[in-house]
């Protein structure tokens, strides 16, 4: 029969193709010794672009961390005050000429991966890029206290500050990764977000870029000539998974060696049951909250019809049983934050005054405000308008989706109708930034210190920036400013912070739901695993796989 003829050739062709593919990839190599390891990192999310000034996505950060160096970096103590606890990287040493003049001496051994030396001009160029309004780097506001960066000679660079404050050294080194000016000078400032460089970067770090397959994986290889010591792990491979659940599944299946966060007790239990895997707990840098929009959706000139009312917001906050929600979603792997803070903050203070969970009082408040269920449909209304709002949630976050459903039911029980807008992460961000939402479930990955992030999210300084909810209270802003610039010691700063947070809590601009506790899982053959909470792979160049524990994955030659 003529109809069967084509199909008899197809399986043969498919089989041949498959065989060729297998043969092309199954070459086993023979790497032996101390510098062979391969670490496959599985995780949800993919970098957007590998250009440090224009990204803040954590997958991008993890890769960039290996490609581009800072002048100096935070020590394991996490102390952001003064300069004693910082570790030299590109700068081999530094000194203070005056209390507001900081001089860095670059390490003469530092090289870009195309062979050029790293110079003071690169540092000045980098500062220029980070502070350019067209590039619009997310960390630009944190550099506002730096008045100028100038070069003294090819290896000496001078930072001048506008004023003296405790975290000035931290601000000088933590936010900026030095960029190669000879490769990037020609890129127009408005096009940094789409720069070709960002998909094939050339850096100065312990690893160099090898390949990036969209939607699949990204690979880096160790730079054996790295001036601060050859990394032990020869290859780093990121494998992008649809969600964290799949990442953990891959880890257990042996397809991956490391996962950044386990998130839920279920995952932790799954990993614990596997004797090949070790769990490394560390302080969480994320906190999540329901953010009320103070402005009308899509129109920042008008107040929000519901959330402009402070009493209403307070009633909504008191409606929610935050402890119950937390136990449901995170079990013991998170805490209810006493304000806008992650667990890594030194200002974390469980004594901070907050609004209680008190649904009876919330109900009384709502009734007093005129919100009663006059038509018996279970939803409160006033002047014919139901007490209803939409909650913006990113589909990519399983915990937040679960929170959204839990909140929906708690509000329904209070007679408040909540509809969910579950959208893709990029749409979520676009709408958040445009202010097109009533309320949103947001998560913030914080810096190690509150002094830059809190003003950006909760004061007027963040309008048009990261303060999507457009909350402002001058009293709060003044207290924050005092806390950040206080030179009267750490305890005084902490007290001022607490006072500020309490002012904010009374205004109820948001419902602070969770602050995560992190736990990474790494294969047991990897030794010397040290994790710095603010960036879990910051020290990966010192992780190693002893020669006697190498597997085929480590030995493979490419």
């Amino acid at each position: 029969m003529p109809t069967t003829r084509p199909s008899s050739r197809l399986p043969a062709a498919a089989a041949l193709a498959a065989l060729l593919l297998i043969a092309g990839c199954a070459r086993k190599g023979g790497c032996t010794g101390d510098y062979c390891g391969t670490l496959v990192i599985a995780g949800a999310g993919e970098p957007d672009i590998l250009v440090p000034p224009v990204t803040s996505l954590s997958p991008s950060r993890d890769v960039i961390e290996q490609l581009f160096l800072k002048l100096a970096d935070l020590g394991l103590s996490g102390n952001t005050i003064g300069d004693e606890d910082f570790q030299p990287l590109l700068a081999e040493r530094w000194e203070w000429d005056t209390p507001t003049t900081l001089v860095f001496h670059l390490d003469p051994r530092a090289r870009w991966q195309d062979g050029r030396a790293v110079t003071a001009a690169d540092v000045a160029f980098t500062y220029d890029i980070y502070t350019d309004s067209l590039v619009n780097s997310p960390v630009r506001p944190t550099l506002r206290q730096i008045a100028a960066v100038t070069t003294r000679d090819s290896l000496t660079v001078v930072f001048r500050f506008r004023q003296r404050y405790p975290e000035m050294f931290y601000d000088a080194v933590y936010h900026m990764r030095i960029m190669p000016s000879h490769l990037l000078r020609e890129v127009p400032r408005s096009q940094w977000r789409t720069a070709v460089f960002g998909r094939a970067p050339v850096g100065d770090g312990p690893y160099r870029f090898v390949a990036w397959r969209s939607g699949e994986s990204l690979e880096l290889a160790a730079d054996s000539t790295f001036f601060l010591g050859r990394p032990h792990l020869r290859r780093l491979v990121w494998r992008f998974t649809p969600d964290q659940q799949v990442a953990v599944t891959q880890l257990i299946a042996g397809d991956a060696d490391a996962v950044e966060v386990l998130i839920t007790p279920d995952n932790r239990d799954r990993v614990r049951a596997d004797t090949q895997l070790a769990i490394y707990p560390y302080k969480g840098v994320a906190y999540g909250y329901l953010w009320f929009n103070f402005a009308a959706p899509g129109d920042t000139t008008q107040p929000h019809p519901l959330f402009g009312d402070r009493e209403l917001r307070r009633a909504l906050v008191m409606t929610v049983d935050r402890g119950g929600l937390l136990r449901n979603v995170f079990g013991d792997m998170a805490k209810v934050p006493p304000g806008p803070m992650s667990q890594i903050f030194s200002i974390w203070d469980p004594e901070t005054r907050e609004l209680p969970h008190d649904s009876a009082r919330a109900a009384r408040t709502l009734t007093r405000l005129g919100w009663t269920d006059s038509d018996g449909d279970g939803i409160r209304d006033r002047d014919g308008h139901p007490l209803a709002f939409r909650l913006l949630v990113p589909t990519t976050s399983a915990p937040r989706r679960q929170y959204a459903r839990l909140l929906q039911e708690q509000f329904r029980a209070m007679g408040v109708d909540v509809q969910l807008d579950e959208v893709d992460f990029s749409v979520f961000n676009e709408r958040a930034h445009a202010g097109r939402f009533d309320a949103m479930l947001n998560t913030v990955n914080t810096d190690p210190t509150p002094s830059s992030g809190v003003p950006q999210s909760w004061t007027r300084a963040g309008f048009g920036g990261l303060n999507y909810g457009r909350y402002e209270n001058p009293a709060f802003a003044r207290l924050v400013d005092r806390a950040v610039t206080s030179v009267r010691g750490r305890d005084e700063a902490k007290r001022t912070w607490r006072a500020a947070i309490e002012v904010l809590n009374q205004d109820a601009p948001a419902i602070f739901l969770f602050a995560t506790e992190n736990a990474a899982a790494v294969h047991r053959r990897v030794a010397d695993v040290r994790i710095r909470p603010d960036s879990w792979l910051a020290l990966v160049r010192t992780w190693r796989i002893p020669a006697d524990r190498l597997t085929d994955r480590d030995r493979v030659e490419r």
Binding site: D321, G323, Q408, E409, L420
Partner: protein, 308 residues
């Protein structure tokens, strides 16, 4: 779940049995009815459908909770099946059985309505195209070509994802209006081949009106594939709804549909498999029953069998 709920479930089962028996008794006089029940799977399939419809209608009687009620989020989430929660609880500590029953209302409703829209459109277009042929056929079939050239899931996703807040009714209508292309082709193919038979040619030669020829002579003879495709169609819609919900674009929370129940249970498959398993089983069972009924009807209604 209390005694009354169990009793109500038992009552629903008895009622479904009665329905099967009654249908059997009433159609027993006709040859087609006997042929229908000669299928070994026909009676069980009718029972399954009758049971789910009954239970869905009597939802408040057979369930202990409202479908969106969260019993105890801190202590009773992901609880395995027990006497209190016969199908367990989901990650939000909602009773899976209650959601399954209320979900039947939504899932079966969407399936039935969308299928009705789809099959009606498909039969009309296919019948007209196959009978008239020439430019009518060419035009309609090019339209169908365009429709078929747009993958259904893709098109629905596009509309639902890009246009914010698409109401459920519009979604159902869209599912229906994107589901008739295949049916119309099958119908047309069948009409084309039936049309060539002697009795249709004879009817035309006798000067019967086209509409009469189509509805009296051609369509009854093409009934078998229409019914098979309708049965598959309603199942397909239920599967499609499940798929849309799986991608987060189906029936919005907190309303339960079998599709979004699977979607919600999916991430918890490793720790609480019952959340996604039972709604999946329910879909499979109902779709299977629909397919079985379609098969049995196909044989029962085939007019050529009267003489055979």
């Amino acid at each position: 779940m209390n005694v009354w709920n169990w009793l109500a479930v038992g009552g629903a089962a008895v009622l479904a049995l009665v329905v099967v028996a009654e249908i059997r008794r009433r159609t027993g006089a006709r040859a087609s009815g006997r042929r229908f029940f000669r299928h070994p799977t026909a009676a069980p399939a009718v029972f399954v459908l009758a049971f789910f419809v009954t239970v869905a209608l009597a939802a408040p009687l057979v369930t202990p909770y409202q479908p969106y009620f969260q019993i105890d989020i801190a202590r009773l989430a992901n609880h395995p099946p027990s006497t209190q929660n016969p199908l367990g609880t989901d990650p939000l500590s909602r009773d899976v059985w209650s959601r399954l029953v209320y979900g039947a209302r939504i899932s079966l409703g969407i399936g039935a309505i969308a299928m009705l829209v789809a099959v009606t459109t498909g039969v009309v277009v296919g019948g007209v195209a196959g009978y008239f042929r020439r430019w009518v056929d060419a035009t309609l079939m090019r339209l169908v070509d365009v429709g078929l050239a747009m993958p259904r899931m893709f098109m629905l996703l596009m509309v639902v994802a890009l246009w914010e807040h698409v109401p459920l009714a519009v979604l159902v209508l869209l599912i229906g209006l994107t589901g008739w292309f295949g049916t119309s082709r099958l119908v047309r193919a069948e009409v084309l081949s039936v049309r060539e038979r002697e009795f249709v040619a004879a009817a035309r030669a006798l000067g019967a009106e086209p509409g009469r020829v189509i509805f009296r002579h051609v369509l009854p003879n093409a009934a078998a594939p229409i019914i098979v495709s309708a049965a598959l169609g309603i199942g397909n819609v239920m599967l499609l709804e499940a798929g849309l919900s799986f991608l987060g674009l189906g029936v919005p929370s907190p309303a339960p549909s079998w599709g979004n129940m699977i979607a919600d249970g999916f991430p918890k498959m490793a720790v609480a498999p019952w959340c996604a398993t039972f709604p999946g089983l329910a879909i499979s069972l109902v779709v299977m029953a629909l397919n079985a009924v379609g098969d049995a009807l196909r044989d029962a209604l085939d007019p050529r069998k009267e003489t055979a």
